[in-house]
């Protein structure tokens, strides 16, 4: 039920409401009880935040940026320096000879062409297994080059918003689901890979590897919209690739786990998050259990882990404890 709910949330439904009093696990209820009885919460929050800011860590963000740069450089170097480790672009490639195909690009091709080739199936299955293992939307925040540019645009947007020069005009999160269906139908009906014409991921990946062209104007336009109008417009509300990988990650072992015990519910994680609906459980009283995994829309970017003053959010590989 929780899983269905989190899928619905990913597709655009509101996050799960605050549970009824009788829905809490006894340990969780006891912890909320203790928190309510504690005095001087404000002071504690201020103290912990000050401590955090003093030695502010950007550990996961830095690792992630490193990952995005390295993966994309591997593509570039494989061609430009002819080292042939990762040939092709993010839409499809050969990694030391093995076929890899981006799930969304492959879906568009299969729907448009209506002939399924074995190489493409091999590449698609390989990539499916890879990203299922690693968390689904992990692709977005650890590999996608547009994500990195969008993070810089987001920083600019937040600065401008702080100076009251711009206001974030959010969209409905269901937009992405509608567009996903539209692009599936368009590929099927027109017989063209319609989405690829506007995919900033493919455009950017090819621009890096083969040199930029006019198509970068579209990417630039999207970034301008994200700076001045809507925070993270593409990744948050539009990108079908994100939804594809989100679906892959529903049952993925790698996720971010939230533990309520020390959480102060001050909400810094939700402020830095690109998909804050997955962090709705961190509001006081919203998690029924002591531990809860974040929903599949989570890109496993780790910004919330870095910002959390109480270490209540952590990466977890599900089932690893039982295995070890």
């Amino acid at each position: 039920m929780t899983m269905l709910r989190s899928i619905a949330t990913m597709l655009g439904a509101g996050p799960a409401p605050r549970p009824e009093p009788d829905e809490y696990a006894p340990e969780a209820a006891a912890m909320y009880e203790v928190k309510s009885s504690l005095e001087g919460k404000k002071e504690r929050v201020a103290k912990l935040k000050a401590e955090r800011d003093e030695k502010r860590s950007h550990k996961w963000r830095n690792w992630r940026w490193f990952s995005i740069v390295v993966v994309n450089l591997l593509f570039v170097a494989s061609f430009q320096l002819d080292i042939q480790l990762v040939e092709g672009a993010l839409t499809a490639s050969r990694v030391v000879g093995f076929h890899f195909a981006d799930l969304n690009s492959s879906l568009q091709v299969m729907l448009a062409y209506k002939v399924i080739l074995i190489n493409l199936v091999i590449g698609t299955v390989t990539v499916f297994l890879l990203w299922w293992t690693l968390g689904g939307r992990t692709f977005c925040s650890w590999v996608c080059p547009y994500h990195l540019l969008a993070e810089f645009a987001e920083t600019l947007h937040l600065r401008l918003a702080k100076a009251k020069l711009v206001t974030d005009l959010p969209l409905h999160r269901g937009t992405r689901t509608v567009l996903y269906v539209v692009f599936v139908v368009l590929a099927l009906v027109t017989g063209y890979t319609v989405f690829e014409a506007v995919s900033p991921v493919g455009i950017l990946s090819r621009a890096l590897i083969y040199g930029p062209g006019l198509a970068m104007i579209w990417v630039g336009g999207l970034l301008l919209i994200e700076v001045f109008i809507t925070r993270r417009a593409w990744c948050r509300y539009i990108c079908p690739i994100g939804l594809t990988y989100g679906i892959v990650g529903v049952t993925s072992p790698v996720h971010v786990k939230y533990n309520i015990e020390n959480c102060l519910h001050e909400g810094d994680c939700r402020k830095v998050c690109m998909v804050p609906h997955v962090l709705e459980v961190t509001k006081k009283g919203y998690s029924k259990t002591v531990d809860v995994g974040l929903g599949p829309d989570c890109t496993r970017c780790g910004l919330c882990i870095d910002v959390c003053p109480t270490e209540s959010l952590k990466y977890e590989v599900r089932g690893l404890n039982k295995l070890l």
Binding site: T91, S106, L186, Y192, A215, T230
Partner: protein, 265 residues
């Protein structure tokens, strides 16, 4: 500081019914605006994507596709726009389409006049590299390739037909195109500008053609004092474009008409 529950207690003295009602209507107005914005954004994205139809339907770009390309409509659908064919080509004859080509964005083509496919790879590496079969794996020899057909589009400019020879480089010293001259280096293509000619009658299209028996320059007159000749293309022509690239006159006298088949002429 966004602890639940969200709703603040009513301020003392406030009318109990008025406040939540106004808040609710404000929220629903905000949500309505978000939905309108979403519809606008969705329309823009879909509209922008559908603009890709124009260059395709209007045939703005008639591109020479790489060896093994399936029918144009299927080709645009099957191509996953990854450029693996670009990467394996030893003479970098393959380029990728830009945004102005609509659904052809990221789709490979050969600009033969700048750099023809000279089969330096000795087979069809691009076909082997293609992960989706947009370049069909049904062919494995260069002789099986049918990208188009060479056509003498400007016969009046043809040096052979004018009885003229060629001295010096075919395309000038600034030309970057590569060609494999088997008599110089069996394996490595070299710049065309590094290979000057000294011929009484130009026959570069036939001389440099990588396919045996695809093109010859035939005498126009049995009288041996009349040098003039004319290129004749045969059904072995693969449409690789080497003749178009090497043709010394500008614009070239001979060109590849993309996707033209021997059966069609």
């Amino acid at each position: 500081m966004t602890d639940a529950p969200h709703t603040p207690p009513p301020a003392p003295g406030a009318k109990a019914t008025a406040k939540p009602g106004r808040a609710a209507s404000k929220r629903s107005r905000r949500e309505r605006r978000a939905i309108l914005r979403s519809m606008a954004a969705g329309t823009i994205v879909i509209g922008a994507a559908l603009l890709g139809f124009f260059p395709v339907v209007k045939d703005w770009f008639r591109r020479l596709r790489p060896p093994g390309a399936i029918a144009e409509r299927d080709f645009l659908a099957a191509c996953i726009k990854c450029g693996q064919c670009v990467q394996v080509c030893p003479v970098q004859a393959i380029k990728l389409g830009d945004l102005d080509e609509g659904f052809g964005v990221g789709v490979p083509y050969v600009a033969a006049r700048d750099q023809a496919c000279d089969f330096s790879c000795d087979a069809v590496q691009c076909v082997l590299a293609c992960p989706t079969g947009a370049l069909t794996h049904e062919i494995s020899l260069k002789e099986e390739v049918r990208m188009g057909l060479a056509v003498l589009t400007r016969p009046n400019k043809c040096l052979a037909r004018l009885g003229k020879g060629i001295k010096g480089t075919a395309r000038g010293t600034g030309f970057d195109g590569l060609l494999r001259y088997t008599e110089i280096d069996r394996w490595k293509p070299i710049p065309v500008r590094d290979h000057p000619y000294d011929l009484d009658l130009c026959d570069l299209c036939a001389r440099q053609c990588p396919i045996e028996g695809a093109i010859t320059v035939e005498r126009l007159n049995v009288d041996l004092s009349d040098l003039r000749g004319s290129p004749v293309v045969f059904d072995k022509c693969t449409g690789c474009g080497v003749c178009e690239m090497i043709c010394p006159v500008d614009p070239p006298a001979i060109e590849v008409v993309e996707r033209l088949r021997w059966e069609d002429v």
